[in-house]
Amino acid sequence: MNELIFFFNNVMVAGVVLGSIYAVGAIGVTLIFGILRFAHFAHGDMMTMGGFIAFLLMLGCQALGITTPLVPTGFIVLPVAMVLTAILALGIDKGFYAPLRARGARPVTLLIASIGVTLIIQGLIRLSFGSGTWSFFETEQKQLIRIPVPLEGATRTINFTQPQLLMVLSTVIAVVALHLFLSRSRLGKAMRAMADNADLAQVSGINTKLVVRVTWVIAGGLAAMAGTMLALDVNLKPDLAFNIVLPIFAAAIVGGLGKPFGAIAGGYLIGFAETAAIFNWSVLLKPIAGVLPFEVPATMAVVPTEYKLTVAFVILVVVLLWRPTGIFKGAQT
């Protein structure tokens, strides 16, 4: 029984947490691709930027003496950080991408421009915060939640931290809100129409400029959310999300670019695949070693821990070969 709980803690809990972060990031990537038809490479750094904005807001709250007894301050300031990042995302679009779009530049040029944006954001963050790491939990405690399992022979507990619980809850809220927005509201329907066929949407009288702006607002807000969640789970550093932008792209592609719900599925798929790949499966096999026809080795992970991130790339490459437009059919440039 303890082995199963160990498995649950290491694969399921870690997978849900990682998957939530990937999913929230990948929704933004996939929406931008669906509407604007280019791979927005700077999304990872928008996430980092959102994380740093939340961090600054938290410092501000602490300086003002505002403390929250139940939840970490990082979560309280999250909505404000999302709004600020959304505004910055609109500014980035206006300053960097809109002029290129107006010139009729190809998606490839926009992708290169987004790398420029990546470098600028990362450079600015590093210039102002240095290259060290920062923590949301300098003054606050990260609460650990232990749930005893009411089963015979179980001495281990199911463990996760309070921020992890909150981040999964906020992911659920964000996804439900996004679903309602896309399926019920007029603007959401306009967005889906534009993702399907931009020219047709425009001639049917849809305000495409507004749709583009709304896309950036949603993508920016979600980026801030994903970045802050990641920073609350690990530590805040300038290349925080730059390192996971590829798994996020992998999630978006696996789910089919342009499909928000595909991105969510892709995010969790990649999150679980990563945690399951580095899990030492011999732990689970030990208790039944007697009935197995082979000897159980001491370590039996699919890949060594160092290769955790490469799991996402392998999945990405396999999916690209097997079904190039993703598991759910995605958009093409």
């Binding site: 421009a113 600028i120 210039l127 160092e306 490469t310």
Partner: protein
């Protein structure tokens, strides 16, 4: 018109190098020159892929790392404890396991010849992959553990001439590029970019963690030079200050010879029927295919060719720095930097690519001291104003280059989207 513009730009670049050399001293500028010319070779490689062929390769870092690993393996002195141990035998077994696995997968992929089709073939292929992976891991894991613990730590080198290592770097990069190209080139634009980034990250993870092959984060040094190193010159009675300059100039000469040969060959190829065909494929692959050109094969050709130059360039950089540190490779420094070089210089024009490489590399390198000087100035001013000094100037200033690079590429895309020395397409009237 174009020629005059190029001449003016290159003259300006020469002046820039001269001024920087005058400020930083001959030893520093000779170091920057060697590195920037090696980057020029890499930029030519990308120019073939992107400028000639329109291929979106974002996996340059992987090719540079392969080149570095190749030159380390060829030129580093022989590691006698490894060759005297069981290591080579175990590695041989692992290689056999790899080949067996390869044959297994290959066989499964061709299972339709014996009548296994459709879903059964897919299942068989997946099974073959799993079995091959397990067989390979069962041999390589003990071999790696053995070599790292008792078999001399790592495989060491072969002790051959570094130039052979450069060439091997090119060959190794070509081999890997062939496999990568086979896998990825069916994908279009954005997908290709992301797939190549993914593959270069896989290469990085492998080279960084295969301690038995590359010593991973323990790094390998000193890697020998193909030309006399400063200590050799000092032994012949050259003063210490001069020895560095002369040694680096010697290295520079060799790099320039390689660059000149590559430049001459690809410039000729560009003007010939082959270059015209490539441009046709780049500008309209559907039309080119309808004219009977085998688009996928030609793209594979160009992908491999560009990667050869990247592999050689990556090997040169490692030789020159005398250290192979797989942990020091970053997408920003080794992929995006080269993209900025080619875009700013002028994709499709070899002169432009070389110009962009030299200009961007020098900008990249001097951003750090300039930012430091600037920050010190501001810091002094803010201290005078009573606001206190800027903390950690040193570490902040070294981050300035990332920002500068971003600004440069943004400006270039906005105001000179075809580069400073753009491609000239000759039209016969």
């Amino acid at each position: 018109m174009m020629a005059r513009r190029s001449l003016v730009l290159f003259a300006g670049l020469f002046l820039l190098f001269a001024v920087i050399g005058w400020v930083l001293g001959a030893a520093n500028i000779s170091l920057l020159l060697v590195q920037s010319f090696a980057y020029a070779l890499i930029a030519l490689g990308l120019n073939i892929q992107w400028g000639y062929g329109g291929l979106f390769n974002f996996g340059i870092m992987g090719m540079l790392m392969l080149g570095g690993a190749a030159v380390t393996f060829i030129s580093y002195p022989v590691n006698a404890p490894f060759w005297g141990s069981e290591g080579p035998l175990m590695l041989g077994k692992a290689l056999m396991a790899f080949l067996a696995g390869f044959l297994l997968v290959w066989g499964a992929r061709h299972a339709d010849r014996v009548g296994i089709r459709g879903r059964w073939k897919s299942a068989l292929t997946i099974l073959a992959w799993i079995v091959a992976y397990i067989v390979y891991r069962s041999q390589i894991d003990p071999a790696a553990a053995y070599i790292e613990k008792v078999g001399g730590g790592w495989v060491g080198g072969l002790g051959l001439h570094p130039v052979l290592g450069w060439l091997f770097g090119g060959i190794l990069a070509a081999g890997v590029a062939y496999v990568v190209g086979k896998i990825c080139l069916g994908l279009r634009t954005d997908y290709l970019a992301i797939a190549t980034i993914g593959i270069s990250e896989i290469i990085r993870a492998l080279l960084k963690n295969m301690d038995w092959l590359t010593r991973g984060t323990l790094t390998v040094s000193p890697i020998p030079w193909p030309t006399p190193i400063p200590q050799d010159l000092q032994a012949q009675g050259v003063s210490i200050a001069d020895s560095f300059i002369y040694a680096r100039l010697g290295f520079l000469a060799l790099v320039i010879i390689f660059l000149a040969i590559a430049f001459f060959l690809i410039q000729r190829a560009y003007g010939g029927p082959w270059g015209r065909m490539m441009r046709a494929i780049r500008d309209n692959h559907i039309a080119a295919a309808s004219m009977g050109k085998n688009v996928t094969r030609r793209q594979l050709e160009i992908f491999v060719l560009g990667s050869v130059l990247m592999g050689i360039g990556g090997a040169m950089l490692v030789s020159f720095q005398q250290i192979y540190d797989p942990g020091s490779y970053q997408p920003i420094n080794h992929t995006f930097l080269i993209w900025v070089m080619v875009i700013v210089g002028g994709a499709g024009n070899n002169w432009g690519a070389v110009f962009g490489a030299l200009l961007i590399y020098i900008t990249w390198m001097i951003s750090d001291p300039v930012a430091q000087w600037l920050f010190n100035g501001i810091s002094g001013w803010s201290t005078d104003m009573g606001w206190g000094a800027i903390p950690e100037i040193q570490s902040r200033a070294s981050q300035m280059r990332v920002f500068v690079l971003g600004v440069v590429i943004t400006i270039a895309l906005r105001y000179a989207p075809r580069g400073l020395i753009p491609e000239v397409v000759k039209r016969e009237v």
